[in-house]
Symmetry: C2
Subunit: 230 residues, 2 copies
């Protein structure tokens, strides 16, 4: 699973600025001079790692999207995070003796970069900027997850959908939508049918549109009103 594309060279990596190593100043760049990584690709639906796996690899997403899922005892899935380009994932490996706590699955074709946990730990000894960057990313993640929790817990289904759309396109007016209705449901804590109905209604009211896997916001004000974000 996963096709090796080649070796990554962090120093010249096009997405370094968005990556964990984007925190390094000029004088520290030499630290990653020979920090080599493996660049691998996966196709839609392929699993990058599964809960409990022992391999010691942390990933940076270069292209595409990855979903991180947890399953309860009845086999129902909760998508806890959707990884975007530049994001780090699998970093629960930084906790001593821990294994992956999610299943990571490619949404469409993805390209990612494998970092060895051991090498990253060595690097942490040498650069406090790296430590700070890891702490910041972890804390950002806490915040994101708390927001997700708050929305799932407090918002009605229609508001959740509206919030998701706004959050997904962020500052843009449109963005690719690699999630199926089922996956949206698993992310928002709703059934396929409920998600489908709300999307249908938003389209009927000309507040959003979907064409060839691209989601567009047509009436941002209306969506903000609905989501109750103000």
């Amino acid at each position: 699973m996963g096709t090796l594309v080649g070796r990554g060279h962090c120093l010249t990596c096009p997405i370094r600025p968005q990556s964990l190593f984007g925190c390094l100043e000029h004088d520290e760049l030499s630290l990653i001079e020979d920090f080599q990584t493996r660049v691998v690709t996966y196709d839609a639906g392929e699993v990058v790692y599964s809960e409990g796996e022992r391999l010691n690899l942390i990933y940076t997403l270069r292209q595409g999207f990855v979903k991180l899922t947890r399953f309860n005892s009845e086999g129902e899935a909760q998508i806890v995070r959707i990884v975007k380009p530049g994001d780090l994932f699998g970093y629960e490996k930084l906790v001593v003796d821990s294994n992956y706590r999610h299943t990571a699955e490619a949404l469409g074709h993805v390209e990612l970069c494998q970092l060895s946990v051991e090498r990253l730990k060595e690097l942490r000894e040498q650069s406090s900027a790296i430590n700070q960057a890891i702490i910041e990313r972890a804390l950002q993640q806490v915040m994101k997850t708390e927001e997700h929790l708050t929305h799932v817990s407090l918002l009605k289904s229609k508001a959740r959908v509206a919030w998701f759309v706004l959050d997904w396109v962020a500052e843009q007016d449109s963005a690719p939508m690699p999630l199926s209705r089922r996956e949206l449901g698993q992310y928002l804590g709703l059934t396929v049918e409920t998600v489908s109905r709300h999307f249908a209604e938003l389209k009927r009211l000309n507040q959003i549109s979907e064409k060839q896997g691209v989601l567009s916001v047509l009436d941002r004000d209306a969506l903000e009103e609905l989501s109750g974000v103000l």
Copy 2:
């Protein structure tokens, strides 16, 4: 607000083993030799800090419980975390230029210890164990919050209540219960009434009991069955 009790001396602090500095080995203990803190107390309902505040203090809880709450635009509250003795909170301050992202409120009488963000950052420069400990705590927190999200998202109300009870008493058979029904609802994403009904039923079936603010598990198997945790 908050009463200064005195200065804390980390080296001799009774709860150091559970605290952030519990990670330090013998040879590093000298680092905190003169790391002084302020020990303060708050009474039930007093606010330790509010969302957006600028003070640069991180806290370790010594005694009692603290709830961390977020409010949506309609003023509805979501309790995102209940802090227990030995836990660190307010550490979003470790992200540069960030303010508190919750309201922290004492549940009953609490005693806590204020650490200066600046001094903690200095300490991080000197000890990689501290860095590792902070990263581990942040990642543990991500995991805890994801679990919370999963439960709120996937479990039925009765199962959420059962899960909460088990999670709260942990390995014990009973534990103090400082949360009101309303607060339980705000933690679990339910209304007061729903929580009350389920507690009433669990008591009726002799699966739990409540006496003078102490919650006891009488039939662990039944609760596990209900919560679907297996």
